[in-house]
Point group: C2
């Protein structure tokens, strides 16, 4: 007896640095099935494509489209282009490769922060409220961003818009992985929090006993200490939020969004981050924007957000 295929779904694929999640999302935005696997065995992209194909075709759930969120995923070209943390180097024509196995359905890719923004628009704060102009900020190892203007993601002329994490906040500042100095993400991210901890330790601005290895402070340790009201840890969060505030105030000068939505590991710090951030943000805003732009934490469930966002790419494309 053949499996029943009475449910139509979009497959959302979240490609991360170490593992990939495939999720089947129904029209209500529920992830009805999800599988997760390590990228390690898939050194060759062809093997990865075959794995995806096999998982989709072997499922009893009908797949009407495939949306993908990946580091350096480009909506215009359908490629992953030079993603430093993935096993495949150069330009990977992911959409075309998948399309050869699924010629009849829409397949789109975008970067992970844009996918998160799309998820927020469709399933998060945007689900019940008007959310046409907002900026999604993903605070993880780095700082990613997805920008919505008039209900659409900003891709720019080449698909690479929305790199707020690489806006320079201090031209003489910290060296960034991109080779330049003073990028926002070197301050406002889990990594930034750790560099700040190290700097504060070296300058003896703090002298905590809660770092397991003071040569390699962990963001998590700062968070735990801040939750216990440790003044040093709170100072690190204060410093981080002040720089993030300036970066966000600069972003507001560009697109004047209604909301800025925070997502990701560091956003889970909640009030420890948000409270000083909101204060510094209002101070940093140009007069005409004051008391107009809300900063809030994402409504998306962290576990499902990436897959939902990737699937939302297709639902949006289908509804336009």
């Amino acid at each position: 007896m053949k499996p029943m295929k009475n449910n139509k779904h979009i497959v959302g694929i979240d490609i991360g640095g170490s593992h990939t999640t495939i999720g089947w999302v129904n029209e209500e935005g529920v992830v009805v099935k999800k599988i997760d696997f390590s990228l390690k065995p898939y050194v060759h992209i062809d093997d990865f494509i075959l794995k995806i194909r096999q998982e989709i075709t072997s499922s009893p759930l009908i797949c009407q489209g495939i949306g993908i969120g990946a580091p350096n995923g480009n909506y215009f070209t359908g490629m992953i282009e030079f993603a430093p943390n993935l096993p495949w180097s150069g330009k990977i024509n992911l959409c075309e490769l998948l399309q050869s196995y699924f010629p009849e359905i829409p397949i789109y890719i975008t970067n992970d922060a844009n996918a998160a923004a799309m998820g927020e628009y469709r399933y998060g704060w945007g689900k019940e409220n008007t959310l046409e102009d907002f900026i999604m900020i993903t605070l993880g190892t780095g700082l990613g961003s997805g920008i919505f203007i008039k209900g659409e993601i900003v891709y720019g002329h080449d698909g690479f818009a929305g790199e707020i994490g690489h806006m320079i906040v201090d031209p003489m500042g910290r060296l960034c992985g991109c080779g330049r100095r003073g990028c926002l993400e070197r301050y406002a991210s889990a990594t930034g929090l750790e560099i700040t901890s190290l700097e504060f330790l070296n300058k003896k601005r703090i002298s905590p006993d809660w770092f397991e290895n003071p040569d390699q402070p962990k963001a998590k340790e700062v968070y735990v200490a801040a939750m216990a009201n440790d003044p040093g840890a709170l100072e690190i969060f204060d410093y981080t939020s002040k720089i993030l505030a300036t970066g966000l105030a600069n972003a507001v000068c560009f697109s004047s969004p209604k909301k800025i939505i925070l997502f990701g590991g560091l956003a889970k710090a909640g009030e420890i981050l948000i409270q000083p951030l909101q204060k510094y943000f209002e101070e940093a805003l140009l007069q005409i924007y004051k008391n107009k732009v809300e900063i809030m934490v994402s409504k998306l469930e962290e576990n499902d957000a990436a897959v939902l966002g990737a699937a939302a790419l297709i639902y949006e494309a289908m509804s336009n």
Copy 2:
């Protein structure tokens, strides 16, 4: 005999700090008639409105719509809101006031930099080429900006998007008229050039004899000296272009435009500004944007640009 009214035109109004220009623009983008008057006698907005009305109704040219470019002009509200350099304080409901005299025709307002961007899109570089994603930078007393994404001006949720001049490039930097520190326009504008001159003079980094009053250096004097290859003047331009380059590289991170177009007094410095600017800009760009974004000088005739841009607002509205 009644005057012949066989030509249909859009009236473009450019409201500046000291005077206003009214221009009649035909469908080919030619300013067929233009009048210019001082704002001094129009301390009351009602008198200003009556003046506009009288000029438009007394002309034999048919007016099909009125587009206005003004400092702090807001496309969404139709108002001029708290423009510091105009004679009328608070919120001026300009479009509504004019509409009461011209109830049948479209009337729109936007700020001067957006109007310039609209003019460029319709009558400048955008006239014969695709120009969907670009940023217009007006370099005058301050630094204004108009942002196009996918062929539309970015207004933001409140009509106030596009204040790149107030993106902070140095949180500890120069005090700005907006009350904050380190705004881009305090460095990259005619005023910025003059402050830099003063700083360089005070630090004895330059010792020129070509400032008429070294306590009040003029941008024009720096320009003339730079044209004559004076090393000090060229250093001032070099410094200015380096900071502008960082600001523009940050803007690229946001919307990834195809072009950045410079307009206004300082842009007329031409190669003296553009050459170092392009060099520093390429250096400052994030890798994925390198060699993709052109910086060019506006194609618009300075004298007509503001009026053309204002009129273009209406032509665009009519063609959508």
